[in-house]
Amino acid sequence: MKEINKILLLGSGALKIGEAGEFDYSGSQALKAIREEGKYSVLINPNIATVQTSEGVADKIYFLPVTPEFVEDVIKKERPDGILLSFGGQTALNCGVELYKKGVLAKYDVEVLGTPVQAIIDTEDREIFSSKLHEIDVKTPRSIAANNMSEALHAAEELGFPIIIRAAYTLGGLGSGFCSNMEELKKLAASAFSYSPQVLVEESLKGWKEVEYEVVRDGYDNCITVCNMENFDPLGIHTGESIVVAPSQTLTNSEYHKLRSIAIKIIRHIGIVGECNVQYALDPNSEDYRVIEVNARLSRSSALASKATGYPLAFVAAKLGMGYGLHEIKNSVTKVTTACFEPALDYVVCKIPRWDLSKFEGVSKVIGSSMKSVGEIMAIGRTFEEVIQKGLRMVGQGMHGFVCNNAKIEDVDEELSHPTDKRIFAIESAFNQGYSVERIHELTKIDSWFLEKLKNIHDLKEELQKYSTVRGVTPDKMRQAKQMGFSDFQIARLTIKDDDTSGTHQNMLKVRAYRKEIGVTPVIKQIDTLAGEYPAKTNYLYATYNATETDIVYEHDYRSVIVLGSGAYRIGSSVEFDWCCVSAINAIKKSGYRSVMINYNPETVSTDYDTCDRLYFDELSFERVMDIVDLEQPKGVIVSTGGQIPNNLAMKLYHQHVPILGTSALSIDRAEDRQKFSSMCDSLGIDQPRWRELSTIEEIYKFIDEVGFPLLIRPSYVLSGAAMNVVSNKEELLHFLELAVEVSKEHPVVVSEFIQQAKEVEIDAVAQDGEVKAYAISEHVEFAGVHSGDATIVFPAQKLYIETIRRIKKIARMVAKELNISGPFNMQFLAKDNDIKVIECNLRASRSFPFVSKVIKYNFVEMATRIMLGENVEELHKSVFDLDYVGVKASQFSFARLLQADPVLGVDMSSTGEVGCIGENYYEAILKSMLSVGHKIPEKNILISSGPARSKIELLEATLMLKEKGYNIFATGGTAKFFEENGVDVTLLHWPDEEMEPNIMEYLRNKKIDMVINIPKNLTQRELDNGYKIRRAAVDYNIPLLTNARLASTFITAICKLDKSDIAIKSWDEYK
């Protein structure tokens, strides 16, 4: 075997549904393992907000698309000895398989480390996979592969309905689903064939238990299973959509070990070296089973298993890929035992998905065999009741646990039998209506064991409701409630009856005070992989009420600095805040303090116990943060690097005299509270779009008379534009007001004028004692109206007036001074003809901090953290003119997974991830970043449906360039007419509803179009329907789609000016 010194690792690119932050964690772990071996690492990943693309993790980083062409270019340049394919999700795996098939790896003599590519192919092609498993007498669902529609229909006849269909080679179950008749089959199979040339028709095992094992094998054929997990939801709901517990709860020893042995048999037979995941269906009435899936790579489940057990699967898998045996690797928790063991848990964990379906227009909320959730949380405790209640709070959608919510379930039976994202709350509604566990089991097929535990919570709720004061609750009952995971808030809501006006937070404080008086407080336990069998100095902790002794001896030396994390990944808050938290943690350690992290998202690097000195894998609620503050007695708490969740805690913590580091909580409040912020702007002479905080319709009508439509409507505490929308008439206004009120009763509705055709500009900055020490000004490609999280962002700004930049700097300085900012902050502006209006100000790190930090090559969060710790920092003198390159951040959308959602951008955010690429110039950076989020340089046919007059004009010049470049342009009626009038030769395609040939739908279905540009026009219902059909078809048939005229013309200019060969293959450090 040749010596391996230089290793290439493929990342997973932008976060998308089915492929999220877990691959930043697994890639970071692999890079750490490579570094520990003294080998040189090269990373390709355009996701600039990740921890793995930070300085000091990989030796060389390319912010380039993870596609065979670009990876080949990097291989040609870097000539690595080995490549790791299993740490970057399906994206990296698919790319690796293609490189292997094309002979690229052989050509450049790059050895695939770990699992051989043939083994990957064996698990990915479902037919080979089934026959492989049958060779060793392992059962798989009866299934028939179909290569076209008629084969699929035949297969269904043979197996009998219900059946499930799956597309091969897709991300997290894309194009899969259940069909109970021919009609459903035809529809689903058509969509599945558009993703994959092969579709599998399988027997349905709906209602069986779903169980997973994480299996590891080394080159010496040693095998272990690190963890097993049981889905709370029965088979039929994708494991990414299921509530999952670890270890399994309802399996006997015999079932557990039967499946474990099969998993080991499989990993040996397939020949995996590293890690794989085996998913089973288990008959709830016998020991019969089927193997549903084997993933020959690190996965979301493996990240969860690592966090659930403390066993670093990715790190170990990387070491095994480099030739080690399991027994030669140390257990990184105990440091005395080896990695060749199976963790013993003395706690239970529960994973719950987070959905953001309400952010999308038209999407179906039913959960099923393909994945729609955007993030997940993990709760740790010592009873199921404790973890499920903790977990439901962690999800962060306003729920207080299993009980005491305002969840409205219209039709309980329907919700139980056809689950949506609200299913678990329907169970509580069913209990309230007197349903028995048996009845609920019949409807849901959820194992009665789980339902009985939920019933325990429900029963205790009923008991607590009988108290009329919290002080009437006996200490035993109080303890029991806490042991079942009730929060102070839930207890307050159930027991405090005297309807005083002090509010829920005050009532919660009453519960807390009483509880502490009677000695009902949580204890902190360690996760040590061996259930206490060996002494371990582990820093991986959780809080529980189901125990009496805390494992930790606290120093109380006031050197602990607590960083509050960002919680579940969601639309508007994901890996970028994890990067901010990890940067803060690193800075804290560098400054000699004890870094303490609180977070509960298993997909993150910040919840890797290796990252910080002490990790509390627990809730980011006021209650739990206070519990930890009481125990740690820290020097201070950092609330400004974890996004909106910690930011919203600032005032509450401040009132309890918790030392908040950096900018004062009062200042944070002045920025968050629109009224206070606005009067501050007025006094400083800073302009804002006209707005009003209003609580009656009459007031709103009066305001409309003043400013006219369109208007922007939102609740006052905003998280990525929840319930925020632009309305252009009274009808829309009333509709959205109803939605906004439902989101938050505590805060009234804010109505502001919406300025069209304005540029949006952002400043990310760090200040100390009110003095700006570093700043970065970036601009959006799209005009205002596209949420900043969806916009394409250019840094340094390329097309702003110097005057605009100067004014923005000046405003930022004034605000920093006025609010006496010490730490990070971000402001957003509208700019129209040098006229600047402030639209947003956050006294915390923003989503774009990692992007600007990495482009300017100066870590803003590290600087901010040092300031918050009280150190003096030098002002950053690098100006935009010092940068000989441009960075562009582009957004990744996951509409393909969100069936029926309208893939259009608006003021509410809908992207699930982003990339950031660096180019020699604006267009090169645009091209790289757009290719990184799945756009392609079109081959020849482009469809343009250009919407309103303004965007027609916007696109005219771009279309001329396309013609010159030799592209065929297809256009819809109005667009075609406009282009013809302007001398551009186009082919007319008829609207979907015209049913005339040539029709757009036929062209899309048969993939005669390489790119679709469809600019929505807010006119008649007919145009909207037609537009929706085109956009949706583009997404469903996997054709790149652009819906913003500014972005479309920019992208077109880029592809016309540059060829693929003009794209520089340069690593981050080569941009100087």
Partner: protein, 360 residues
């Protein structure tokens, strides 16, 4: 929910844990040991090796899948490791009053009551485990109010004599005749042998098998201090002079060692789990094993013609021995599993191969 009685677990160092009873209500005393396996309480409770011990599973949620039905197969209960619960008491963190499994017929609490074994829940089992780890296994008692009793050290007694069969029994009709010396045998050992074409003659621990006409001898697992099994050791010593294949498990491993002339000692808190890695010296193959023992062989005292067969990867203790030339070997762990991983069941195949070779 029925009225639940409180009770205490008292350790010999004076530590007291308060819990709630879900089993039989009587005070008992024994040796308190923890085990870290996450599955298999019906198997563990009926394992005769736990005789005299108060068990503490570190996994907090117990009772989830109830207790299986008492079906028989080949004259043995299909889902249990012996005919009754052998441990003295059970201490857990969280008890599932409601259970759910297709194969269950009663709850764990009901079973404990039937078999008159006390069980407590609501105890910080991690704190208790850490105490046992630091101090070593301790004597302890479960005390119901007004019913205090003395501490009792089971290791001073010949527990093997208590759990061994009183009469000789025969199972199966296979080709190879195996004498199984029952020092407290787990039924899965018999099942593993029967699967391999054997007739098993199960004899009492002190039965003299040295002149028995058989193809192989099997030394079972069992409770307590191997030094107390003098009769068994003496009989094995006689057999070692011959060439009939012998295999031993757990206590059988220790008895084999003592018969060969080596010494055994008490571990601080023993190995009781499903996740113990063992390796063959000089080999990169590693196995995950199920273990349940408080005593171990001192490798340094092994005579010249014997060698370690397995070592524990975590703490380097002995996990098995073999004779360098004769067909004798034994394992400290449980290749028959039940409960636990099935990775080392191939040792039974090895035993049968030895029998085949010697009967050629």
């Amino acid at each position: 929910m029925q009225h639940l009685k409180k009770a205490k677990l008292v350790l010999e160092d004076g530590t007291v844990f308060e819990g709630t009873s879900f089993g039989y209500e009587k005070s008992v005393s024994g040796e308190v040991v923890f085990y870290t396996a996450m599955t298999g309480y019906p198997e563990s409770l009926t394992d005769p090796s736990y005789k005299g011990q108060i068990l503490v599973p570190t996994y907090p949620l117990i009772g989830n899948y109830g207790v299986p039905v008492k079906t028989e197969e080949n004259g043995l209960p299909k889902f249990f490791e012996s005919d009754k619960i052998h441990c003295t008491g059970l201490i857990i963190s969280d008890y599932s009053f409601a259970y759910s499994h297709w194969n269950a017929e009663k709850s764990l609490g009901e079973w404990l009551k039937e078999e008159q074994v006390p069980g407590l829940f609501g105890i910080d089992t991690r704190a208790l485990t850490k105490k046992l780890r630091e101090h070593g296994s301790m004597l302890g008692k479960i005390v119901f109010s007004g019913e205090d009793i003395d501490f009792y050290d089971p290791n001073k007694e010949n527990l093997v004599a208590q759990v061994s069969t009183k009469e000789t029994k025969e199972y199966g009709t296979g080709k190879y005749k195996v004498v199984l010396v029952d020092c407290g045998v787990k039924y899965n050992i018999i099942r593993c042998l029967l699967k391999r074409d054997t007739t098993v003659k199960r004899v009492a621990w002190d039965y003299d098998f040295s002149n028995e006409d058989c193809d192989g001898i099997f030394l079972s697992n069992g409770p307590g201090d191997p030094a107390l099994c003098k009769a068994t050791i003496e009989n094995v010593r006689k057999s070692l002079k011959k060439n009939i294949p012998i295999m031993g498990i757990c206590l059988g491993n220790q008895i084999m060692a003592r018969a060969a002339g080596a010494e055994t000692y008490k571990l601080k808190y023993g190995h009781r789990s499903h996740n113990q890695p063992v390796m063959t010296p000089g080999n990169a193959r590693c196995y995950i094993t199920s273990q349940n023992h408080g005593f171990a062989i001192n490798d340094a005292t092994l005579p010249e013609d014997w060698q370690p067969l397995f070592v524990n990867v975590n703490d380097g203790t002995n996990e098995g021995i073999r004779h360098k030339t004769k067909p004798f070997f034994s394992a400290q762990f449980h290749p028959e599993a039940s409960s636990g991983p099935l990775d080392t069941e191939f040792l039974f195949d090895k035993f049968i191969e030895n029998i085949k070779d010697s009967t050629k």
